[in-house]
Amino acid sequence: MDTSFSAEDLAFRDEVREFFATEWNDEVIQGLSHPDTFREAMTAWHQKLYNKGWAAPNWPEEHGGPGWTSTQKYIFDYERAAAGAQSLMPFGLQMVGPVIFNFGNDEQKQRFLPKILEGTQWWCQGYSEPGAGSDLAALKTKAERDGDHYVINGAKIWTSYAQLADYIFCLVRTSSEGKKQEGISFLLIDMKSEGIKVNPIHTIDGHHTLNETEFNDVRVPVENLIGEENKGWTYAKALLAHERTGIANVSDSQRNLAQVVELASNEMQGGKPLIEDASFQRRVSDIEIELMALEYTELRVLASVATGGAPGPESSLLKIKGTEIQQAVQELRMEVAGYYQGVSVPEGGENLSGHDFGDYARYRYMYGRAATIYGGSNEVQKNIIAKAVLGLG
């Protein structure tokens, strides 16, 4: 048992730290903060990492990944979060990319992977459907073969950033026979195709991220099918297991909690800084202690992956605890803001309240409600642990 870092790891840490200290600058932050300049700024930020060879830590080297050890990946993500730097859009790099390099054909790899890697092609995810919720496999969007094309009809929901995406990767129904998990195919669809309509979903945080995406007789060339027809569920599932390790967001929560402590040091209540209040300290430490534990829970999962184990259903724990902690930190930030937690600045609008973090606290709290719902709700994660870890039927 050994959690110390090697000299190489420490040198790597310094390099990463230095990179974020210089490259994550006000210009980038400014650009990302407004919806009109978001894609442009995010692409520029992506390319800084791309130029360094760091855009896709989890990709194999042959497709442009950096070939890092799990310790290096951990350090990289830790330093990114510690610097407060935004992570790159996950839909291409973390979601469809691995599906393409694991299950796609050579033509697909050449067509898509380089653009995803360099950040010029944006993706969104078409899994959930209106009415289906956590029961993903109940999807109804139909793809019917017509010559060299599939014709798509149906709708996808929760398509984050569909309004900015060039492509959408979709689970579609190509057969209604057998179990509902069978008969699902994995398709890549150009968002400029005729018959696609993106309807924004207004959410409780007031920012525009989510959409409903409609498909009306959308024609998709068959060469955009990943792997075999009716095997899409398998590819999607393989991806979901991967997705779940990063979701603990330990380093982001550490940074956010440290910010809350800092903010509470400047907020006066009853004549002394809020952070000196024993009851407030108890609330902070409740969270920090869970987070210190979660950091090591994640390291344990990573270490088990590094020695050949798969990130099993235990990683559902990372999702549950990670999101619970995120939400607890968000709630605490609200508390610190006092009355100003209510400030609600329209997206891209000017903050007239004169208070510097009230609106942010509100936004993060409301936006954060979704964390325990998406990517398999925490209830579904508990079902998974009960079944797969505890063996309860």
């Binding site: 919720g133 956590s134 009355y339 209510g342 004169g354």
Partner: protein, 385 residues
């Protein structure tokens, strides 16, 4: 001992409920909130005509002479309907302070206009550094007698953008004083913005603005606290109304929404969580009743009950709000469903006049601190005052 309501009280409650059902459905409400002022002047006139604006005022001031129970019944319904009109700032805060602190002349000049729905008011008390201590202010008033001028900056003034008249707290004469300030007077400038519950509030800068003393100079704090206590009860009742409605909405959703081929309300783990929400609501309601009875009956324990209530409104409000969203799944984070709107109003209420932590500390000080030892043993329900 009973928890019954009089026939008159039941009628009052039902009239608000009927108004919401007939004229204030969720879509209508959202349109009202989206308007420039964040509420409807037309609705306000209706409220005046229905007599609601007169409820808390004494009969000799032209009011209905309603009790805290009457007010509770209205507020619960306003919560259930998520009513956006400025009942709290204009009627309870502005009107309440004028009634509690004002001279006969001031009351005569202002209260009929409040009750008639012609005057919008606000109470400007918060400043950047106030947090929850009402006397932690820096705005000053200089002058004496009929002539005071005020300087300072007030923030998050509820209804501050629409108010014709303000009551402003300021330091003068060795303490906190209250002043009536004309919102359109020289030296008064306003910046307005929205809060998460959709209401429009204002930061108000006073730069030598003329103020008319309301009540005794330098001795306003006890009066402010008394009015704030009333309003704390009222917003707690609003919160209890919201929690009850949230539970209904969520249970209804769980009964009809299907996942994996069955209604999600059949999943036992979710059932037990809805039961927890139900219990949290019932407990908050019980403390509301307790705090109101203690106040009505002048019990020595009234202050502890109020702190306990606001603490629980915070905890249960957050819990029920968050759980209602969670139990709605993805739909819960959309504006299309009502749960997010209710949850945001609960979050807003939690912080008004002190959040749960603040009130719990006050509760603890009274119960276990030095003050507890000075006071006689904390009386329980069975010990009448």
């Amino acid at each position: 001992m009973n928890f019954d309501f009089s026939e008159e009280q039941v009628m009052l409650r039902d009239s608000v409920a009927r108004y919401i059902q007939d004229d204030y459905d969720f879509d209508t409400r959202n349109k009202v909130v989206a308007s420039d002022e964040g509420f409807s002047r037309e609705n306000w006139q209706t409220f005046a005509e229905l007599g609601w604006l007169s409820i808390p005022f004494a009969e000799e001031n032209g009011g209905f002479g309603g009790s805290p129970v009457d007010l509770m019944l209205i507020m619960e319904q306003l919560g259930r309907g998520l009513i956006a009109e400025p009942f709290i700032p204009t009627v309870l805060l502005f009107g309440g302070l004028v009634e509690a602190a004002g001279s006969e002349a001031q009351k005569e000049a202002l209260l009929p206009a409040v009750i008639g729905g012609e005057l919008q008011g606000a109470f400007a008390y918060l400043e950047r550094k106030t947090r929850f201590d009402l006397d932690a202010i820096e705005t000053t008033a200089t002058g004496s007698g009929d002539s005071y001028t005020l300087s300072g900056e007030k923030t998050v003034v509820f209804n501050g953008a629409s108010a014709d008249k303000l009551v402003v707290s300021a330091l003068s004469d060795g303490g906190v004083s209250l002043f009536l300030v004309d919102a359109s007077a020289g030296g008064v400038s306003r910046t307005s913005y929205r809060m998460m519950d959709g209401q429009v509030v204002a930061n108000i800068t006073l730069d030598g603005a003329a103020g008319e003393l309301l009540g005794e100079a330098g001795k306003a704090l006890p009066i402010i606290e008394q009015v704030v206590d009333n309003v704390t009860l009222a917003i707690s009742a609003e919160a209890v109304g919201i929690m009850g409605r949230l539970n209904e909405v969520t249970v209804e959703y769980a009964r009809t929404r299907e996942q994996f081929g069955v209604a999600i309300g059949t999943f036992q783990a979710l059932q037990h969580r809805m039961v927890d929400n139900f219990m949290a609501f019932e407990q908050a309601k019980s403390l509301l009743y307790r705090a109101i009875c203690d106040r009505l009956e002048g019990k020595a324990d009234a202050r502890r009950s109020l702190h306990a209530l606001k603490t629980m409104v915070d905890r249960s409000g957050k819990h029920i709000g968050a759980e209602s969203i969670q139990l709605h799944g993805g739909m819960g984070v959309t504006e299309e469903m009502s749960v997010g709107h209710y949850a945001r109003r609960l979050m807003m209420i939690n912080t008004i006049f002190g959040n749960g932590d603040y009130h719990q500390q006050k509760f603890s000080e009274l119960s276990y601190g030095e003050k507890a030892q000075e006071a006689p043993a904390a009386p329980r329900a069975v010990d009448a005052a």
